[in-house]
């Protein structure tokens, strides 16, 4: 079998003058971290790999569910129950090409973001919560790394490429995240694939442009906040500006980097699911076989596969990962989830 001909593979892309052979070469040398591998993140990863980005690292804390399939393009029915990052990696591997795809089934927090982003020159937002986005913003501004915010609910979404010091950061535009319940979620307003695909496409186009453009020319890239509604064909391209009083990129205060992820219980957007992480010190590691044996002895039906343990209790479905993190489906209340975690897993 002859070696793959990547020159031929990317011929049409290289013919796009704004990219050209030099831009394509930069893509193939690039390393990008995609945070979250669900609807936006999966679509982003697919486009990055199709485009020939050299190294794509995927990180996601979640497992594939039936309700993901209408909009999360990397997953099939056979992936249900598997960690999203690993299922995505499997799908992306079938595309071939020069990209090296790395997959990590982990929760992203202030404790591990630096390690997850090691070597990356760009971060892409495929998350489903604002807490992680404000953490990414602090991290990227502190390190001078570009990142691209994207959010989508219903048929509409927002995109904001963030190039620290050259343009606004997330907190210049939206200084703080809102309190719980203030925003519509995928649960209350729903979400459709065309909206996800369009927002991810805008994010990916911005990503390719950033990666293909030498850093000394990044100032030519205008900091546009884009709002797009694919259902009603409405769009706005707005000029976002730096806030001279921004606590993040102005005063260089990074409170989200200081917030340890330990002991967190957070409700996941539109999922009727709470993620619980163990507290009490260093990163935990669950002995899943031992936990499985204990639960089985107590009469629970369970499945232990692919590095995750799944069982049901109290009408809730638990998915436990090796890092002792658990997704508890069937409730929204973090305190109640924390209590169930403590009851069935201990902490």
């Amino acid at each position: 079998m002859s070696a793959p001909n990547f020159d031929a593979r990317f011929d049409r892309q290289v013919r796009f003058a704004a990219l050209g052979a030099a831009g394509q070469a930069r893509l193939e040398q690039a390393s990008v971290l995609v945070v979250g591998c669900g609807a936006l993140g999966g679509s982003l990863a697919l486009q990055l790999v199709r485009s020939g980005v050299g190294h794509v690292r995927l990180v996601d804390r979640d497992v594939v569910e039936l309700t993901n399939l209408p909009r999360q393009v990397l997953f099939e029915e056979r992936h249900i129950g598997r960690p999203k990052a690993l299922a995505a990696q499997e799908t992306l591997a079938r595309i071939g090409g020069p990209s090296r795809v790395e997959a990590l089934a982990e929760h992203v927090d202030a404790d591990n973001l630096a390690e997850l982003a090691r070597g990356a020159q760009l971060l892409l937002d495929g998350t489903d919560n604002l807490a992680t986005r404000y953490l990414i913003n602090d991290f990227c501004v502190e390190r001078g790394l570009p990142w691209i915010y994207g959010g989508v609910v219903g048929a509409a979404g927002l995109v904001l490429p963030i190039v620290p010091q050259l343009g606004p950061c997330l907190r210049c535009v939206f200084p703080e995240p809102p309190p719980p319940g203030a925003l519509p979620t995928c649960d209350t307003a729903g979400v459709i694939l065309p909206a996800v695909a369009a927002i991810a496409a805008l994010q990916c186009a911005a990503a390719l442009r950033l990666v293909a453009t030498p850093r000394e020319r990044w100032s030519e890239i205008e900091p546009h906040l884009i709002e797009l509604d694919v259902w009603r064909l409405e769009s706005r391209v707005l000029s976002a500006a730096r806030d001279p009083e921004c606590p993040c990129c102005g005063a260089r205060e990074f409170p989200y980097l200081d917030a340890s992820g330990e002991g967190l219980a957070i409700s996941l957007c539109g999922r009727n699911t709470v993620q619980v992480r163990p507290g009490g010190g260093a990163r935990a590691a669950a002995d899943l076989p031992a936990l499985a044996a204990r639960l089985e002895a107590s009469g629970f039906e369970l499945v232990l596969a692919d590095g995750v343990l799944r069982f049901s209790a109290e009408g809730k479905r638990f998915t436990v990962f090796r890092d002792a993190r658990a997704l508890i489906e069937g409730l929204e209340d973090p305190a109640r989830a924390r209590a169930l975690y403590d009851r069935f897993l201990g902490s």
């Binding site: 979400v191 707005l238 500006a241």
Partner: protein, 92 residues
């Protein structure tokens, strides 16, 4: 008159504004918020806090430029201006 665009997601909370051409008399951004409040009671407190400052997950643009004054909403408007009110989105 000033034309007002609300981000689509605000209509979930203020459905009475859905489908309406929003044109209001206002000489500054604070005036726009007051006019919207008259049309849809509660939207003023959704966009601004109890001290009249823009809430931190909300932003306002005049034309395609971000407002400068988030505290007093004193950015001036001229007839024919377009004001866009957006908020952060969490889904993805």
């Amino acid at each position: 008159m000033v034309q007002v665009h609300l981000t689509r997601h605000l209509f979930a909370f203020f459905p009475q504004l859905e489908g309406r051409a929003l044109e209001v008399e206002a000489s500054d951004v604070a005036g726009v918020v007051r006019a919207l409040e008259a049309l849809a009671p509660g939207i003023g407190f959704y966009v601004c806090d109890e001290r009249g400052r823009l809430r931190p997950h909300v932003n306002v643009f005049i034309g395609n430029s971000m407002v400068r004054d988030r505290r007093q909403l004193s950015d001036a408007l001229a007839p024919g201006d377009t004001v866009s009110i957006l908020q952060a989105l969490s889904g993805g």
